[in-house]
């Protein structure tokens, strides 16, 4: 049952401003020939280094992020042709504990589903043009990136 992710009949955006329901992604990738499904959920967490983060405001270079997601999933389909993969990234303000990113990968064998899911989330972290502004319990705000750097925020720019 070959399936190309990028030939989805209905184009579902990868970016959303609503809470992400893992069950929806599990349903999207399920199929009778795919017995193993791995799902990854990344959530806004309290970071021991920074003290309590109460929420994160995610922004993106949106058309590029959609295109980059599409490229990542197409590359994953090339690597794991039998896998079916779904992904979402949330934008806007995400409260503590809610999911910022969800990836689901279903495949005939469990190893493929683990490997594909892991590969996609690593590529998302590495390539997706998304930024986060963390709001701490004391009201301070900072830009925080995947390399661990922190910068205090300045005035909000009008258009971004």
């Amino acid at each position: 049952m070959p399936c190309c992710h990028h030939l989805r009949e209905v184009e579902i955006p990868y970016l959303t401003r609503n809470p992400i329901d893992p069950a929806v992604l599990l349903a999207e990738v399920s199929g009778p020939g795919r017995g193993g499904t791995t799902l990854f959920v990344g959530s806004v967490r309290q970071s021991p280094e920074d003290g309590p983060v109460v929420e994160i405001d995610y922004t993106a270079y949106e058309p590029m992020a959609e295109a980059e997601f599409e490229r990542i999933l197409r590359e994953a389909s090339d690597r794991w042709p039998e896998a079916r993969i779904a992904a979402r990234h949330r934008l806007g303000v995400v409260p503590l504990g809610e999911a910022s990113v969800v990836v689901a990968a279903a495949a005939p064998h469990r190893g493929q589903s683990f490997d594909a899911c892991r590969w996609v989330i690593e590529e998302v972290k590495r390539r997706l043009p998304v930024w986060k502004r963390e709001r701490l319990a004391d009201g301070a705000e900072q830009w925080s990136d995947n390399a661990g750097a922190r910068h205090p925020t300045g005035p909000r720019s009008s258009g971004s």
Binding site: R71, K125, P129, W143, G159
Partner: protein, 87 residues
């Protein structure tokens, strides 16, 4: 000469970079031989606070990751991307 007609590049800045320079868009006119690195140099010189941008930021051309050596073409969209934080 026709080869000297400048190209127009639409520049976009995001997140902390937009904060640093106080704008998220700029238009550049560059020689037709210009590369990404030339455009970044121009932005750092011309934008108020532009020196706070890194000399070699992460960049995208037409919504795909690009290298600083990539040649630019008239109408290209160049984006300066702060260190990524998705996931």
């Amino acid at each position: 000469m026709t080869t000297e007609r400048p190209i127009e590049i639409q520049c976009r800045l995001f997140a902390r970079y937009a904060e640093v320079v106080g704008t998220d868009r700029a238009t550049l006119h560059l020689p037709p031989t210009a590369t990404v690195a030339d455009a970044v140099r121009e932005l750092r010189e011309r934008l108020p606070g532009g020196r706070a941008l890194p000399e070699r930021p992460l960049v995208a051309v037409n919504q795909a990751h690009a290298r600083s050596t990539q040649p630019l073409t008239d109408g290209d969209e160049l984006a300066l991307l702060p260190p990524l934080a998705g996931g």
